[in-house]
C-alpha cells in the first residue's frame, strides 16, 4: 500500500477541518480541543495536533489529507506534516483583519514545500465579508510574480473543495486527463 498526502493549512477559522470533512471518505479524525487562548473569540474548539482524513484510491493506494493546526505556536508540526506531501491547499479566512498578511505568512512558511510541489488557495467566508475580493488577492500575488489558482471556497461544499484540489493536481501535471472538468 502506498500513501500520499495533501496538506491543508491556513489561519485559525479558515475552514481546514471542515474542508477535510467535505472531501474525506470517512469522518475525519480531529484533535480539536476547547480553545483557551484568543482563538475562542473565533470558535469554540480548535485543532491542536492535526486533522486527518482519507480518500481511497484505486487498488491499495490511499490519499491522506492532513490539516495543520492554525495557530503559529504549533508551527513546529508543519514540517513534519509536509514531509512526503504532494501539494498544499492554503485556506484563508476573508473576515480576518489582514488576510493578505496571512497569505504572505503561510506562503513564506511553506515556501520550500511549495517550490517542490504546488499550492492552490481557497478564500473562505466571502459570504460574510466580500472584501477583499479574489482580484485583490491576485494583485497581491502579482507582486511576487506567482500565478496561483485562487478560488472563493465554501469549505462545507464538497464541490468547491474538490475543484480546489483539481486545480492543485492540474498545476502539478497539466497532462492529466479528465473528461468532465
Amino acid at each position: 500500500m502506498t500513501n500520499y498526502k495533501i496538506i491543508f493549512t491556513g489561519p485559525v477559522g479558515a475552514g481546514k477541518t471542515t474542508a477535510i470533512s467535505s472531501i474525506s471518505d470517512r469522518p475525519p479524525v480531529s484533535t480539536d480541543k476547547v480553545a483557551t487562548d484568543m482563538t475562542r473569540n473565533v470558535k469554540k474548539t480548535t485543532t491542536v495536533a492535526c486533522d486527518y482524513g482519507t480518500v481511497r484510491l484505486n487498488g491499495s493506494d490511499c490519499l491522506h489529507l492532513y490539516g495543520t493546526p492554525g495557530q503559529q505556536r504549533f508551527d513546529f508540526m508543519w514540517d513534519i506534516l509536509t514531509t512526503g506531501g504532494i501539494g498544499l491547499i492554503l485556506l484563508l479566512d476573508n473576515t480576518r483583519p489582514d488576510p493578505f498578511q496571512d497569505m504572505e505568512f503561510f506562503l513564506d512558511q511553506f515556501q520550500d514545500f511549495i517550490n517542490q510541489t504546488q499550492v492552490a488557495i481557497g478564500v473562505t467566508q466571502t459570504d460574510l465579508k466580500s472584501a477583499p475580493c479574489i482580484d485583490d488577492y491576485h494583485k497581491h500575488l502579482d507582486k511576487q510574480g506567482s500565478t496561483i489558482p485562487i478560488f472563493e471556497v465554501d469549505a462545507r461544499k464538497r464541490q468547491d473543495v474538490s475543484l480546489l484540489i483539481k486545480a492543485l493536481l492540474f498545476s502539478l501535471d497539466p497532462g492529466l486527463v479528465e473528461n468532465n472538468d
Binding site: 484510491l57 464538497r158 475543484l163 484540489i165 486545480a167 502539478l172 497532462g175 472538468d181
Partner: protein, 424 residues
C-alpha cells in the same frame, strides 16, 4: 447570411406574436439564417403550436393540403399524435435544434418532386422589397450576420413578405425592438449547452489557412460581449460607474464593487450573444459617482466578471476574436475564480498548462489532445477579462507537438484521485 446554403423555409402556424418573434430571432441568430420563416404555402417544414384554439383542426387542414411536409408540433402537454416531430414547451434550444435537424433530414429523404417549391413570384418579391425598403428604413434594427456582413435580405424583409396577420411589425430600437430580443431570450434557457460551430472543420484546423482562420474568428467588438467588456474596463480605469445602453435595458456597471445592475430577468442578455450591433445602436455613458446606484425593485445586482465570462463563452461558440494569433504562446496571468464561474470542458487543464508554460492555442489542443474549440472557448472568455496574454516576442513560433511539460512521477495517482473526485 451565416450559412451560404439555401435556407430551409419554415412556416410557423398558430403562433402567438411572442413565439413567432422568438423563432425568428432563433433562426437568425443561433441558426445563422439556416432557416427562414415563410408563409404556409411556401414552406418546406411547418412548426405548429398545438396549444392554440382549434389547433387540431388547423393541423388536420394542414396535413390535408401538405401531406408530405414534415411538421414539428410544439405543446405544453405530451401529445404524441400524428407523424410529426414533437417539442415540448417551454422550448429548449437544443430540443428545437434537434427537431429541426430531424425534420430537415426527413425533407431531404423525400423525392425531389414532392418537396414544396416557393410560390412567390419575382414580381411579388420585388414589390415586397420595395415596400419594406420604404416602410422599414427607419425601423429596421441594424443586425449583422455572424460573418459581419450586412444581411442581403434582413430578417424583417422575410417578415413582411410572410408574416401572419397576427404579428405586428418591428418597432424602433428601444421599444418593441427591445421586447423582441427579450422574448427570444425568455425561450432560450440560460443553461442550455453551447452549440459549437464547425466542429468537424476544427478537427483539421490549419492556422496557416486564411479561409479556415476566418471561420473561427469573429468581430467581438461588435457584440454585447465586446461592448460590455469595453464599458467594464473603462469603469475600472476611470473609477466611475458606467451605463451601457442598446437593444437591452440599461446595464449599470459599478466599478467599486465590480458588479453590474441589471433588470431581474437578465437572462435574455445571454441570448443576445449571437448578435452583432452597430456602434450607432450602443451607448456607453460615464455616470456621476453621486448618482444613486441602488437597484430598483425591478433590478438585481450581479458580479461583473462571471457575467462577462459567461457572455464571452456564449458569444464564442468555439471561435476567437479577430486578430487572434493561433501560434503565439498564451500565458495565463490569472486563474479564473472557477468555483464561481462556469468551468468549460478542460478549462482547468488549459489554465494549468498556460500558467506553467505559455503554449499556443494550436499546441494546447495537440498536447492536451482535446478539441481545439474547447481551447478557443476558454481563451475567448479568459482574454475578455485579461486573464491571459499572448507572448508577443514569440509570436511567430512554429507549432510543435512536443509535450510542453513533463509527465509527473505521480501521474497515475493524480489520475486516480481525479476519477474519485469526479465520481463522488
Amino acid at each position: 447570411m451565416g450559412n451560404h446554403a439555401k435556407p430551409v423555409r419554415i412556416a410557423a402556424l398558430g403562433m402567438e406574436q411572442r413565439t413567432y418573434s422568438t423563432l425568428q430571432l432563433f433562426f437568425h441568430g443561433h441558426c445563422q439564417d439556416s432557416y427562414v420563416l415563410v408563409e404556409e404555402k411556401s414552406a418546406d417544414i411547418s412548426i405548429i403550436d398545438m396549444d392554440g384554439f382549434q389547433a387540431y383542426r388547423m393541423l388536420e387542414e394542414h396535413k390535408k393540403h401538405y401531406p408530405d411536409q414534415p411538421s414539428i408540433l410544439i405543446s405544453l402537454s405530451d401529445n404524441k399524435a400524428h407523424d410529426a416531430v414533437y417539442v415540448r414547451k417551454p422550448i429548449q434550444l437544443e430540443a428545437l435544434s434537434s427537431a429541426l435537424r430531424s425534420a430537415k433530414k426527413r425533407l431531404q429523404q423525400q423525392p425531389v418532386a414532392k418537396i414544396s417549391v416557393p410560390k412567390i413570384s419575382v414580381k411579388e418579391v420585388a414589390e415586397a422589397k420595395a415596400s419594406v425598403a420604404k416602410n422599414t428604413a427607419k425601423n429596421t434594427p441594424k443586425l449583422q450576420t455572424a460573418d459581419n456582413t450586412p444581411n442581403a435580405v434582413p430578417p424583417v424583409l422575410n417578415d413582411v413578405i410572410h408574416r401572419p396577420k397576427t404579428v405586428v411589425k418591428h418597432a424602433k430600437p428601444g421599444s418593441n425592438h427591445f421586447n423582441q430580443y427579450r422574448y427570444a431570450a425568455d425561450a432560450l434557457t440560460e443553461d442550455t449547452d453551447i452549440e459549437l460551430i464547425d466542429t468537424k472543420l476544427a478537427a483539421r484546423f490549419n492556422p496557416l489557412n486564411p479561409v479556415q482562420v476566418a471561420k473561427f474568428q469573429y468581430q467581438s467588438k461588435q457584440t454585447l460581449q465586446g461592448y460590455f467588456q469595453q464599458a467594464y474596463f473603462m469603469a475600472l480605469q476611470k473609477k466611475r460607474n458606467i451605463v451601457l445602453k442598446g437593444a437591452w435595458r440599461p446595464i449599470t456597471i459599478l466599478y467599486k464593487s465590480k458588479q453590474l445592475r441589471v433588470e431581474k430577468n437578465f437572462r435574455h442578455l445571454y441570448a443576445l450573444s449571437g448578435m452583432f450591433f452597430d456602434k450607432s445602436e450602443v451607448s456607453i455613458a460615464v455616470l456621476d459617482n453621486s448618482v444613486d446606484c441602488e437597484p430598483s425593485i425591478h433590478e438585481t445586482v450581479l458580479p461583473a466578471e462571471p457575467f462577462l465570462w459567461k457572455l464571452s463563452m456564449r458569444t464564442s461558440r468555439g471561435r476567437v476574436p479577430v486578430d487572434t494569433n493561433f501560434t503565439a504562446p498564451i500565458k495565463l496571468i490569472r486563474w479564473p475564480n472557477f468555483t464561481r464561474t462556469i468551468v468549460t470542458p478542460h478549462a482547468l487543464r488549459i489554465a494549468a498548462l498556460w500558467a506553467k508554460r505559455p503554449t499556443s492555442l494550436v499546441d494546447t489542443a495537440n498536447y492536451l489532445a482535446i478539441p481545439l474549440q474547447y481551447v478557443f472557448i476558454f481563451y475567448n472568455a479568459a482574454v475578455s477579462l485579461n486573464f491571459v496574454t499572448p507572448e508577443m516576442a514569440k509570436k511567430d513560433r512554429t507549432t510543435t507537438s512536443s509535450p510542453p511539460v513533463k509527465r509527473h512521477q505521480y501521474r497515475k495517482i493524480f489520475q486516480d484521485l481525479l476519477d474519485r473526485l469526479r465520481n463522488n
